[in-house]
Symmetry: C2
Subunit: 470 residues, 2 copies
């Protein structure tokens, strides 16, 4: 609970209208898109500019009040769940596109801009912002930056981090700093820009961002390759890239996913095959044509049972939509959906998918696996019921084994969803004690009183590593 003194000070900063500690508002912001996490904040605050945020942080720092910056709360790691109470900070007044600079190919935005709104504004100028997280229709760009969001185009174009050129950040001590700028090259000091990208609101509040844009690809083509053999699909992924083709999108859906997606979207997807690759290439028409042809050859050589190239933009759209609908489709199977994103080097995709299937069987669960095969970022997704404690225990054990396996294969516990509260206990598996200590040093340097999104990234206790037996 906030003391009356703190409450009055905060109201003085943002005015009565932008401070809300009603039960209903607190309830609304007590959870995010992550299943099984809920915790009431003490208040919800909506500052109008960086200076107000600076004043708010000074108060929080002085009184030790936790503060959780929140975009649309679409993250899947409980990154914006106020697990230790305190204040949820919203950006509803800081949601403007400040500038699209066509000479320097940059866009400058406030954090509250909806990702897709920004993308539409950019595309109107014939420019392109590649990161396309599945939540882009509702996610904010501030949230994307804090989580370093990925998406379907990561293989060819990289992730959010690769497009952030400069930031304005308010630090816990109230300092407002600017990092980077409209500069392709800038080595003046440590790379604070990228330190903040993906820091999940634990180091400061991002209040403005300058993002890199690129010219819009001229054209795009989409194809499906069907397989009766999972390893053949995985092998195709490696072979395409070893053939020196980097497709925009190289998505994988297993049979379980295909079935639920078709059931949900009814677009004529094949459900009698073991796996599907959804492949997209963009660029100049000659190059796209040639690449798609070569990709089809590789897939055939790797025993694809059928290859379909979308004839029209609508057909292509339908295929992409099917992939994008995977999560929603799986979510219909059971009350609780847990979407994970263990990631491996792409050469290990076949081994990883095989391990996921074995683990699923071992624990008698329903896990559909789909994801960004081209960048090794898989999304094993479990349809379960949080009220079934016995099953939830098995789910947790299964995912622990999946993370363990990913790390064993040279991978990571999270490719694009973030650590938040959910993955924090597993982070040490990837980074070791020494890596966590290095990160903790940075956290303490920026936020000695631990007011910024406490309880995230750094776990109170690390889980013991399991031993995978097979």
């Amino acid at each position: 609970m906030l003391s009356n003194e703190v409450k009055q000070k905060l109201i003085t900063i943002v005015t009565e209208k932008n401070f809300d500690d009603s039960k209903i508002e607190r309830l609304v912001y007590s959870y995010d898109a992550t299943p099984n996490f809920q915790s009431m904040p003490d208040a919800v605050i909506s500052p109008r500019n960086s200076e107000e945020i600076s004043d708010i942080l000074k108060i929080c720092n002085q009184y030790g009040v936790p503060i959780v910056p929140r975009g649309s709360g679409t993250n899947l790691c409980a990154g914006t769940c106020p697990t230790e109470g305190g204040i949820v900070l919203l950006f509803k007044h800081m949601n403007k596109i400040l500038e699209i600079d066509e000479e320097n190919l940059t866009v400058t935005v406030q954090p509250g801009v909806i990702t897709l709104d920004m993308i539409h504004a950019i595309e109107e100028k014939g420019l392109f912002y590649p990161p396309d997280p599945s939540s882009m229709k509702i996610s904010t760009i501030g949230g994307n930056i804090n989580e370093n969001s990925g998406g379907l185009r990561g293989l060819k174009y990289g992730v959010t981090r690769d497009y952030v050129m400069g930031l304005e950040v308010v630090l816990p001590n109230g300092d407002i700093i600017r990092t980077g700028g409209k500069l392709a090259k800038d080595v003046a000091g440590y790379d604070l820009t990228r330190l903040f990208v993906g820091s999940e609101g634990t180091l400061g509040v991002i209040t403005e961002a300058t993002l890199k844009l690129i010219p819009m690809p001229e054209t795009r083509k989409t194809m499906l390759a069907l397989y009766q053999d999972l390893s053949a699909a995985a092998r195709s992924v490696s072979k395409i890239i070893a053939n020196k083709i980097i497709p925009t999108t190289l998505e994988f859906l297993d049979q379980a996913t295909l079935k639920v997606v078709e059931d949900y979207a009814q677009i004529g997807l094949p459900t009698d095959v073991q796996a599907v690759l959804l492949i997209e290439q963009d660029g100049p028409p000659e190059v796209v044509e040639r690449d798609i042809k070569k990709i089809a050859e590789v897939c055939k050589l790797e025993n694809a049972v059928s290859i379909q190239i979308a004839a029209t933009e609508e057909e292509a759209m339908a295929l992409t939509t099917a992939r994008r609908a995977a999560l929603s489709a799986v979510a219909r199977l059971a009350p609780t959906t847990i979407l994970e994103d263990a990631t491996v080097p792409r050469s290990e995709i076949a081994n990883m998918v095989k391990a996921i299937n074995e683990i699923t069987e071992k624990y008698q669960l329903t896990i559909c696996t789909f994801g960004h095969a081209g960048d090794g970022n898989l999304h094993p997704t479990c349809a379960t019921d949080a009220r079934n404690h016995d099953e939830m225990e098995r789910v947790e054990k299964a995912f622990a084994e999946i993370f363990e396996k990913a790390i064993e294969l040279g991978g990571t516990i999270t490719g694009e969803h973030g650590v938040g509260a959910m993955k924090a206990p597993y982070l040490e598996w990837k980074l070791k004690k020494e890596g966590i200590a290095a990160m903790m040093g940075i956290k303490q340097a920026f936020d000695p009183n631990n007011i910024m999104n406490p309880g995230k990234v750094f776990a109170k206790d690390s889980k013991k590593r399991v031993v995978i037996t097979r």
Copy 2:
């Protein structure tokens, strides 16, 4: 001077053969490629592996001995000059290419590998590592990572930072950490990988790196556009990119540079024009052909007086070599060459070149300007004589005004050369007190005893900002 105790402990770690405190060896490593900086180290040490480096750092940390990791010392910011004495650490035993992974498109190397040797090994496999700092024939990849080196292809392909996927680093406390991996997507914790890139050896010793590779572009074309008007050349740069073409290389040479380069290289460069753009595009043949044609049209529209497209690979090579020879050519003019790299958003190139010319005239100096126009990274290069104190004072004033102007135009004091000792006093101009304080917090978290390359990046005193009058 090292105490006998420290010396004996270090020898125990690396053996007598790999420890040298002879006067001649210390002299050799008392300076790097930066004019006007020299300082004797106490010893030079050549460890054979990460474990030895860990033991060395523990000793340095315990006894407060400065340690300066050094590749080939080609940096231009006195980044590897042992300004506070201590130990220079060499990587001559850690210079192996450990793996080229054709499935995951990565190369894993030790820091002492010569950049061009690595590039040749990669190109043999039909793969491409784009960063091409001018010093690549002698620079090491470890040095490139520590300085976040750029090069001629930065516009299209980015800089070293954009290709570092994972690192092994020894921290000042002796901890050995691993960051990232062969993963296109990895959000497990803070981005330590990119924090170390460009940290100039002030946070730890990089002992291994995994770098991203891309397929080799199929073909390449080179052209020259000549201008009688500087602003027309600068305008062409912006227009090409506003036309949604991102060339691989978009280099600018002013008349002063053209004259000295032609005098030096004798390859028939025009010396009667005010400016030249050297433009290169790579990619699939159809695209290169089309882009070069379109670029030529833009240049003509912007009053290029002549456009030459290289007919053969040899002709193209000669043009690129001319650009690469610019520094050596200018260096022949006078005993001391000071190469700067003030950088601006590319839309401000014309303003920046104009300002450089005015400042040159004001201080009566010889400054040739060339550089990476496409990414706004200019290299105003002064031919002077360090023994002429009066002139050197004017040089310093001129460069201070150049930095001031760059920042005024939204730019930075260094695009690719680093801060080191040379730019440290100016860093606050770019980052403000608050930005420096944030960086200092990180430095102290990693290196509380300030043993890692002390005297670099963080200045004892910041220069007062000048007021530009015109």
